[in-house]
């Protein structure tokens, strides 16, 4: 009898579980179908209201309902500064948008955590990881990252050899022999990796001629202080800190003409949500307007930069003078330039794409092609990015239309 009752209870539980699962699955399917349809509609050009009716700083129509976007924020990076400025200047608030910050200190980690953010900015290598491995799209190029520096200690043979030994790179220190065989503390697979290897190639060396010890920039600086490694390869805020520590810059992306783009991105999930899509379009425009602000008022921008570094706990980088100096090396695209970059097309430099590429795609493919040359990615990866339009001009087109209609 007991066994019979137990069997009946078990059967009821099993049936109800199956029924429950089926139910939720269906509803989820219905839910996911709706945003896709809505996203298609949202992809159509927006009809923004004229400036005089919008009543906002740039005449952008506010959101109908207030919305919060989760922002992947790269602590201490200059390409993250426009997000902070648009919030501090109150531009997103007047549009009914707010940010929820998710802070990261490197691109690949940010890409892995893509479920936690809607929009973000990161370096080219991090973006490539994201668009290849996850449901993420690059929707714009932020800047040509310039503060990607290589440092040594004062007693380093590279520094002791002095400048001027490489006629094409007069600011670079050392000789081929002093560079050869050195150990560099570096975040491998990032913009720093591209910078170091390109600089080595400029003087006739390869990646195999040095040892690259993989470390996060902040950990690398700590280790360098204890005497580890011959050189330190670090970016933006950590570079500022390295300079404060008295380390000598012996080469850098700016001095050596290494072009490494940074990007702004959005997740496919956010782009498929009609409300978020609309908010992303508005933030895209504000991002580049914030860059115009930085270019027009470097003093105020440096204040914001020092402030955000302080909030994010980027030690040493909250010094106003150093922030000001760093921003003088910032090479971003303003709104006009970015619209042109993303909305104009040219032949694929490699000639394998089978279609014209936007100039934004070509910028990013400089970095991708570098990593392909280092056997980190393959031609198949490149084709996959092109075929799946992982670098999209859809937002840039929508903003272009919106700005023209204003």
């Amino acid at each position: 009898m007991k066994r019979g009752i137990a069997t009946i209870i078990a059967a009821v539980l099993v049936i109800s579980t199956i029924a429950g699962c089926g139910g939720s699955g269906n509803s989820k399917q219905e839910e996911s179908a709706a945003p896709e349809a809505a996203a298609d509609e949202a992809a159509e050009p927006e009809g923004e209201a004229p400036a005089e009716t919008a009543g906002t700083t740039f005449g952008i129509e506010p959101m109908e309902n207030e919305i919060t976007l989760s922002l992947g924020y790269f602590s201490g990076a200059m390409h993250a500064l426009p997000w902070y400025i648009m919030e501090q200047e109150g531009w997103i608030e007047e549009l009914g948008i707010s940010f929820e910050y998710q802070s990261f200190i490197n691109g690949p980690a940010m890409m892995e955590a893509n479920a936690d953010w809607d929009i973000a900015s990161t370096g080219g290598p991090g973006a490539i990881t994201g668009i290849l491995g996850y449901d993420i799209k690059v929707m714009g190029i932020a800047d040509k990252e310039a503060v990607l520096n290589l440092y040594v200690r004062e007693d380093s043979p590279i520094y002791q050899a002095g400048q001027g030994n490489f006629p094409d790179y007069p600011k670079m220190y050392g000789t081929v022999d002093t560079w050869k065989g050195t150990e560099w503390l570096i975040p491998v697979g990032t913009t720093m990796h591209q910078t170091l290897v390109t600089i080595l190639e400029q003087i006739g060396l390869t990646a195999d001629d040095v040892t690259m010890t993989n470390m996060d920039v902040t950990t690398a600086l700590t280790a360098f202080k204890t005497g580890a490694g011959d050189g330190l390869a670090v970016w933006t805020s950590t570079a500022i800190e390295a300079e404060q520590e008295g380390y000598i810059k012996v080469a850098g992306a700016d001095d050596n003409g290494v072009i490494v783009p940074t990007t702004i991105l959005a997740t496919d999930a956010a782009l498929a949500d009609p409300e978020k899509y609309e908010a992303i379009c508005k933030c895209w425009e504000l991002y580049y307007r914030a860059i115009d602000f930085i270019l027009a008022d470097r003093e105020k921008a440096a204040e914001y930069y020092a402030e955000t570094c302080s909030i994010e706990g980027v030690s040493g980088a909250d010094d106003y003078d150093l922030c000001y100096e760093s921003l003088s090396r910032f090479m971003p695209y303003g709104l006009e330039d970015e619209l042109e970059l993303m909305n104009t097309y040219a032949e694929d430099p490699k000639g394998t794409a089978g279609r014209e590429l936007s100039n934004g795609e070509i910028d990013l493919f400089n970095t991708l092609d570098f990593f392909i040359s280092q056997d980190k990615y393959t031609e198949d990866d490149r084709n996959s990015i092109i075929d799946n339009e992982k670098v999209t001009s859809v937002i840039a087109k929508a903003v272009q239309e919106s700005v023209s209609n204003r």
Partner: protein
């Protein structure tokens, strides 16, 4: 006759029948194969995206390829294995050499127990990874630093198990030894240590597992080669196949060490 005996042992449901070793081996093999086939089918059918998981067949190809191809992490598989073995074995051997005698002595000598236990109890819950920042300051980023992280993960089970093994020594055996005129120290190495050996080996077995599982964290500290580094580079370049291969090789090496340990254990504690 044999068959008849076996039949007699069965109950109504057929339970209790002892199959041959061959049958059991085949069952294990079938289990592994079924797992791999389901894994492959999930990917072939597109139920799981190949961006997140590599097919077993692709992993076999990659495994062979990695013996000669350093891409994308910059080292062939043998170079990576050797780099990781150096780190993990250095940390593990140090942990065994220091941890086992310390645990045995703590279990036997009360004064040492009282002296060391409070410090040990504070250190014990600290995750090995949290030692990384201090390790960099104290030891830099070389082999010593990475081995130190591994040491901490392996040291704790060595001490605890050795300590417990001595504490669980049968009191009757101790009394017999003492009554027969054995000194306190003599009783320790002639009775307590042999009695604790089973627990000591269990501790070492756990330590081996911990050492390999901490490897990725230790190589996160700083590395230019190694299995943990290979996994990190797989992560950096969105290569799920490289990540899974690194994991499987770590698992296989761990299982290999476990096998060696079982072999040594069976020979050292034959009387068990």
């Amino acid at each position: 006759m044999d068959k008849k005996t076996k039949t007699k042992k069965r109950d109504k449901l057929g339970r209790g029948q002892n199959a041959s070793a061959y049958t059991y081996a085949m069952l294990s093999f079938a289990g592994v194969m079924a797992f791999l086939i389901i894994w492959q089918l999930l990917l072939v059918a597109g139920i799981v995206s190949d961006r997140y998981l590599a097919k077993p067949t692709e992993l076999v190809v990659l495994f062979v390829q990695k013996f000669s191809d350093p891409a994308p992490d910059g080292a062939t598989l043998l170079v990576s294995i050797w780099a990781s073995l150096r780190v993990s074995l250095t940390g593990l051997i140090l942990a065994i050499v220091i941890g086992v005698p310390l645990g045995l002595c703590m279990g036997w000598f009360k004064a040492l127990d009282r002296l060391v236990t409070p410090i040990f109890e504070i250190i014990r819950p600290i995750p090995p990874v949290s030692w990384i920042p201090l390790t960099i300051l104290w030891m830099g980023i070389g082999l010593r630093a990475k081995a130190f992280i591994i040491f901490f993960s392996a040291f704790i089970p060595c001490v605890i198990n050795s300590y417990t093994g001595v504490k669980l020594t049968n009191k009757t055996l101790i009394n017999v030894a003492r009554t027969s005129g054995a000194s306190y120290v003599e009783t320790f190495y002639k009775v307590a240590i042999p009695s604790a050996l089973t627990m000591v080996f269990t501790g070492i077995r756990v330590a081996v597992g911990n050492a390999w599982s901490t490897l990725v964290a230790a190589e996160m500290l700083a590395a230019s080669a190694g299995l943990g580094y290979m996994i990190l580079m797989g992560r950096m370049f969105a290569r799920a196949d490289i990540i899974i291969l690194g994991m499987l090789v770590i698992g296989a090496i761990g299982a290999f060490f476990n096998g060696i340990l079982s072999f040594v254990e069976n020979h050292v504690i034959k009387w068990r």
